[in-house]
Structures are given as structure tokens and as C-alpha cells.
């Protein structure tokens, strides 16, 4: 309660300082609330709504719908939100393939899209759009950080990802920074659940460590099987496979794994502490990185809405660019392609009492952008 009041005062102080509250803003959130990937969408929704409620702003309206992780359904909902609900801003999509289905046509129709997670390379480079903002990262970022971190640690790496665009970008991102030798580059089937064949190859490879990008259930399956296999080469990877939503399912098999990310619950800044406390109080669980990203997306929209009218696209986009928020991640600003410039860290999976969580170990990149910003000329 106190925080909501505090946020209200904060909003008030803004309007006192001459930045009058602008027109009402209608936000359409399309996210995955059913099926196997629903955990990510629920965290997205909850993180986003936490910021909206804290702001206590009556002028902001949010409509939420479930995409069932199906691209054609996401497109249909986006059409509906644009045509019937007449939203100003779309947000919330978790998956790159759904984002690719929705974002180009939404921005072409003059709507803002603020991404809470999905960040395919195609939307960061030549096909970037002035109305498309990404509050999370660029897909390659965490893989790049894992590659940079591996430089100081390992000489020979076994790298592995599912055979789909995000997986191919992942290994490309890793290799962009890793200077040592890649012993094996393995692509698995998307949705694969058995990794015995790959683990046998890891054992045989002579590598010093494994880098793997296996989001969702794939990562859970791999980590459990790996821990049982008796192979003792360390595993690293991007934080998706070691986020708060999957850690309980992996269990102790994840302990000690080094993973890259932009936020962990132990961050020592005011915004992070108050976010963590508010989230835990409201939802009674630890937030995942998806919740943080969505929280920041909402903060960005709120901040821009307090400065500019969303109907004036240029002014609103300029206000978004200022990124005038207190992010739990610490520093946050936008690059020229409207993707984040932020610090990326290595985390270690630890046990805090009974709960598995991440502890920050070191900063890998400071003020890190992405490899596609130069290609973005719009």
C-alpha cells in the first residue's frame, strides 16, 4: 500500500514540475497464459500489472489476452486489439516467432510495440521500426555474455542449441565473443526431450565446458539428464534455463551453474529491492527475469505517457527514448535501434534456504548494446 502511495506522489511530483498528464493510454497485452509456456506469460503479466498498479494512474487501461503460444492466434488478437479495442500500444509477447508475426504489421499500422521479452535479430537490424521498442535485451546479448565470460575460463567449448532461428542466433552470438576453440556445434530438435545422444557426444568431445541454450522444458530435461550422466564438465548458458520459473523443476542439478543475465534477486539497488518486496508481497513468489522485463516495459510506457501524448507518435517515441525509469536492473538506456544498453552479468545458481535462486558473480559487459544497431537506419 505504501508503495502505491509513494508512486502516486512520484507521479504527482512529475505533474507539478510542469509535465502535465497527457491523454488516456490504452495498452493491449498479448501473452501466453495457457499451455506449456504459460509460466512465462503469467510472470510477464504480473510484472507488468505490478508497475501499472503502483502508478495508480486511471488514465492507463490494459486489456490482456492469451495467445496460447500460437502465432496465428496472436495475429488475430492483435488485429482485434487494434481494430476493435483501438489500443495505442501493444506488448507482452514472450516468443520470437509470435513477435515476428505481430510486430511488423502492428507497427505498420501505426501502433507502438514495446517488447517485454522477444527480441529477434530481424527486428533489431534492417527491419527496425521507429515505433518498436524493446525493454528486455536483444536475443543475442546473453549468449554473447556467456561467450565473453568463457574466454577467461575455458579453451575448448561444446556448444548446443535447438535448430531454429533463435537457436542459430544463440550459437552465432556466443561465437561472436568466444575466442577459444569450439569442439562441437550441435543443433538439437526443437522440443526435444531426450538428450542422451548429445550428452554422449559431450563426454566424447574433450571440451572444457558446455554452452547450451535450451529454453523451457528442453533445458529442464537436459540439466536433469546431464546431472545423472556422470559427465563432470561444467555447463554454462543464458539465464533463460536458470530463471525462477524453471529452477524448481530442475532442482539441485542446477546448483553452481554459471549463467548470464541482466538481473538477479540479489541486486543491491533500491529499485530492485522495492520491486522484489512488492512482487513477493503481491504474488507470494520470487519474480523471474520475465517479470522484471515486463515491469520495466510498463515503467517505460508510464514515464513516456506522463510526458507526451501517445497519439503524437514522434513525441511519444522521443519520450520513450529518454528511458526515464528506475530499473531493478540498474542502468538502463536505449540504443539507436531502440534496444537496451545495459550491463550483463554472470550469475551462479545457489540455494537460499530451500529455494534455488541466482547470485550475481561478476559483470561481463558494461553498457552493452547489440550487433545489429548499425543496420538500423530508421
Amino acid at each position: 500500500m505504501k508503495k502505491i502511495v509513494a508512486a502516486g506522489i512520484f507521479g504527482l511530483s512529475l505533474s507539478v514540475s510542469g509535465l502535465a498528464m497527457a491523454e488516456p493510454v490504452k495498452i493491449g497485452m498479448i501473452t501466453t497464459l495457457s499451455g506449456g509456456g504459460a509460466g512465462l506469460g503469467i510472470d510477464t503479466r504480473d510484472g507488468f500489472m505490478l508497475a501499472i498498479e503502483q502508478a495508480g494512474n486511471d488514465e492507463i487501461e490494459v486489456v490482456i489476452e492469451d495467445d496460447g503460444q500460437r502465432p496465428e492466434l496472436a495475429v488475430q488478437i492483435a488485429d482485434k486489439m487494434i481494430q476493435s479495442d483501438q489500443v495505442d500500444i501493444l506488448t507482452g509477447i514472450v516468443w520470437s516467432n509470435l513477435a515476428m508475426a505481430v510486430v511488423p504489421s502492428a507497427t505498420a499500422q501505426g501502433k507502438f510495440y514495446v517488447s517485454t521479452n522477444a527480441a529477434p535479430a530481424a527486428l533489431a537490424g534492417a527491419n527496425c521500426h521507429p515505433l518498436y521498442f524493446n525493454a528486455a535485451y536483444q536475443n543475442d546479448n546473453l549468449h554473447e555474455a556467456a561467450g565473453e565470460y568463457a574466454n577467461g575460463q575455458y579453451e575448448k567449448m561444446f556448444i548446443m542449441a535447438p535448430n531454429y532461428p533463435a537457436g542459430q542466433d544463440s550459437l552465432a552470438g556466443f561465437k561472436r565473443y568466444f575466442e577459444g576453440e569450439v569442439t562441437n556445434e550441435v543443433y538439437t530438435q526443437l522440443g526435444q526431450t531426450d538428450y542422451a545422444a548429445e550428452i554422449a557426444q559431450i563426454r566424447d568431445s574433450g571440451a572444457d565446458a558446455v554452452f547450451m541454450f535450451l529454453p523451457g522444458g528442453m533445458g529442464i530435461a537436459f540439466m536433469k539428464q546431464y546431472a545423472q550422466s556422470g559427465v563432470d564438465i561444467p555447463v554454462t548458458g543464458p539465464g533463460f534455463s536458470f530463471s525462477q520459473d524453471v529452477l524448481p523443476a530442475i532442482g539441485d542439478a542446477a546448483l553452481g551453474v554459471m549463467n548470464s543475465g541482466q538481473w538477479a534477486p540479489d541486486f543491491d539497488n533500491e529499485a530492485s529491492k522495492s520491486f522484489l518486496a512488492a512482487f513477493q508481497e503481491k504474488y507470494d513468489r520470487l519474480p523471474s527475469i520475465y517479470a522484471v522485463q515486463a515491469y520495466d516495459a510498463a515503467q517505460l510506457i508510464l514515464s513516456a505517457a506522463s510526458k507526451a501524448d501517445v497519439k503524437d507518435a514522434d513525441a511519444f517515441a522521443a519520450a520513450m527514448m529518454e528511458a526515464d525509469i528506475e530499473s531493478p536492473r540498474g542502468k538502463f538506456s536505449f540504443n539507436t535501434n531502440r534496444h537496451p544498453i545495459q550491463d550483463i552479468f554472470m550469475m551462479e545458481v545457489v540455494k537460499d534456504g530451500d529455494v534455488l535462486t541466482n547470485r550475481t558473480v561478476e559483470t561481463v559487459f558494461t553498457d552493452h548494446g547489440d550487433a545489429y544497431a548499425e543496420q538500423c537506419t530508421q
Binding site: L33, S34, G35, E65, D66, G68, R70, P71, E72, L73, V75, Q76, I77, D79, K80, Q83, S84, S96, N97, M100, A101, P104, S105, A108, P120, A122, N163, Y164, P165, A166, Q168, Y187, Q189, L190
Partner: protein
């Protein structure tokens, strides 16, 4: 005198046509998109109805043709957009954003695929046929996901809807009318096929293989021809669907999509001319309304489908127009 089924059919055709106009009047333009979706899904199911309804062949893999049609539209449009010719190895072809050219390519490609799949699958029958068609569709699905040239799992965006002579396809109502026109033309074709010698033989082969063979008609050839035509119609729907969403992705090829086509036909009424239309209208509407009400909509959708199978045999057309004269 018009049969009761004919009256029901005309009624359905008029209702579908009326939805977008009423939607424009009352200021809910989204219903135009929804009606377009109904028309396109109905078209895809009309294709399936040819083999499933008339031929009694339960294909659980029509998503493959739907996806091929979609990818034909997506690939040709992306080459037209980037001005890069499409390299086929033996020749290179310029991309195009003309719907007519895209439809032709979509139907040819799907026809060839159907010839290949049908030639193997139609040697079997019954439950084997169901599973083999499913497996072939899965094969195309995995191929599309892991083939990086056209976006893999991310799919392919169509930035500007493809063109049709004399129509501004970017206007939702015009695009609806185009899809509606295609649907009605194909329905006429379907009715003609059903009454032709070919169609009669196809239906006879469903009921009695041996008798048809004994009068000198090869059931395999008839079925193969029907399967190819069926795949081509579904591919045409796929091309339109890609233009509706301005996007194609492997999910068009997924087995859920194949299942959905079967659902549409059963909801509407198997082998009935307007069965797919009735089914698509009902399914899209129910899915839309349930999705707006609860996150658990798939649960209730499942219950509703189950109730239809168990208690409402004959589908919507059967309910409205009574039992079919045959089958």
C-alpha cells in the same frame, strides 16, 4: 422445389456475407477480419471435405497443403519485396506480389506434394491412412522449422498484402469479398464434382471398393485425383490465410491445424456442401468468444467439441436440414 438443405445453405452464405457489413455499420471493424478468417478456414475445410466427406478418407495431414500454400505466398512475396530472384537450382524466378500468380504456384506445389503423399498413403486405408497423412505433415512441419532460408520457426512476414487486379486488398472489406468470392466459386466446383461421374465414383468407392473396381474404374486413381484436387484447394486457402495474417509460420503446418480442419467439417456436417462453412463460422465464433471470457478457454472448447461428437451427430447442417440423403 428447393430442398431444406439448399435453403439452409443459402441462409448460411447470406449470413456470412452480412457479418462484415453489419460490423461496419455498428462500428466493430474487427468482425470483418473474423468473417474473413471464417471464409478462409471454410475454404481449407472444403478442400478436405472432398476426400474426407465424399471419399471417406480421413486425412489428418491437410495442414501440409495449407502450409505449402501459405509459404508459396510468403516466399514469392518476400522475393518480390527484396527484388531478389528465387533460385530454384535449374532456373531462377522473380518473386511476385500478384495473388493470381501466387495462387497458381501454391496450387501447383501443393498438387505435386499431394501426388507424392497420396501415392504412398492411398495404398493404405482406415486408421493407417489417418496416421500416415499425419506423419507426412509432421515431416513438412519439421522441415519448415529447421530450414533457415525462410525464417524457420520465426516464420516469414509479408509486409504488404499481395495484389489482386482491380481490388485494394489492404481494405479489410475488399479482402473479405475476395475471399468470399473464392469460397463461393470453390463451393460451386465442389457441387459440380459431387454430381459428376468422377464424384459418383469417388463416393461409390467409399461404400464398396470391390464393386467399383469390378465395373472397370480403378479406385486408387480416383482417390489420388481427389486427393490432389483436395490438396490444391486447401493450399489456395493457405495462400489467402497468409495474406490475411500478413505472415506465415510452421504453425500452419502443425498437426493441431490438421485437427482443426477435421473439427470444422464434423461441426458443420460431414460430406455436406456447406458443412465446412457452417463449421468454420461456428468454430471461429466460439473460439473468439471463449477466448475473451477465460484463460481456460481450451478446456471449455474441448468440452464443447466432445458434446458435439457424442450428442449432436450430423453437425450443424444435419441439425438444421435433417439427415443427408446419402452416407
Amino acid at each position: 422445389m428447393m430442398s431444406r438443405e439448399t435453403i439452409v445453405n443459402i441462409g448460411l452464405a447470406l449470413i456470412l456475407l452480412a457479418i462484415p457489413f453489419i460490423a461496419m455499420q455498428v462500428g466493430s471493424p474487427f468482425y470483418v477480419t473474423l468473417a474473413t478468417r471464417m471464409a478462409i478456414l471454410a475454404l481449407a475445410a472444403v478442400g478436405l471435405n472432398l476426400v474426407l466427406g465424399l471419399g471417406g478418407l480421413v486425412s489428418f495431414g491437410h495442414a501440409a497443403f495449407f502450409g505449402v500454400g501459405g509459404y508459396a505466398a510468403g516466399i514469392l512475396a518476400s522475393h518480390a519485396f527484396s527484388m531478389q530472384p528465387l533460385d530454384l537450382g535449374f532456373a531462377s524466378v522473380a518473386g511476385t506480389n500478384s495473388m493470381l500468380a501466387i495462387w497458381l504456384v501454391a496450387m501447383l506445389a501443393a498438387g505435386l506434394l499431394a501426388l507424392f503423399i497420396g501415392a504412398i498413403s492411398l495404398r493404405t486405408s482406415g486408421v493407417y491412412f489417418i496416421m500416415i497423412t499425419l506423419a507426412f505433415a509432421q515431416m513438412t512441419y519439421y522441415f519448415a522449422i529447421s530450414w533457415p532460408a525462410y525464417g524457420g520457426e520465426d516464420g516469414l512476414s509479408i509486409f504488404v498484402r499481395n495484389q489482386f487486379p482491380g481490388i485494394n486488398t489492404m481494405v479489410p472489406l475488399s479482402f473479405f469479398l475476395l475471399c468470399y468470392g473464392v469460397l463461393m466459386s470453390v463451393l460451386v466446383l465442389f457441387a459440380l464434382i459431387a454430381r459428376s461421374r468422377f464424384g459418383t465414383a469417388l463416393q461409390a468407392a467409399r461404400q464398396n471398393d470391390v464393386r467399383v473396381a469390378s465395373v472397370g474404374i480403378a479406385p486408387f486413381r480416383i482417390r489420388l485425383a481427389a486427393f490432389v484436387i483436395s490438396g490444391m484447394i486447401t493450399a489456395l486457402a493457405g495462400a489467402l490465410y497468409a495474406d490475411l495474417n500478413r505472415f506465415v509460420s510452421p504453425s500452419m503446418l502443425s498437426w493441431h491445424m490438421s485437427g482443426e480442419f477435421i473439427v470444422l467439417i464434423i461441426l458443420g456436417g460431414v460430406a455436406r456442401l456447406f458443412g465446412p462453412v457452417a463449421g468454420a463460422m461456428m468454430f471461429v465464433m466460439v473460439e473468439y468468444l471463449l477466448g475473451g471470457m477465460t484463460d481456460r478457454w481450451q478446456f471449455f472448447l474441448g468440452l464443447a467439441l466432445l458434446a458435439v461428437v457424442l450428442f449432436a451427430r450430423g453437425g450443424l447442417i444435419g441439425f438444421l436440414a435433417g439427415k443427408a440423403r446419402h452416407g
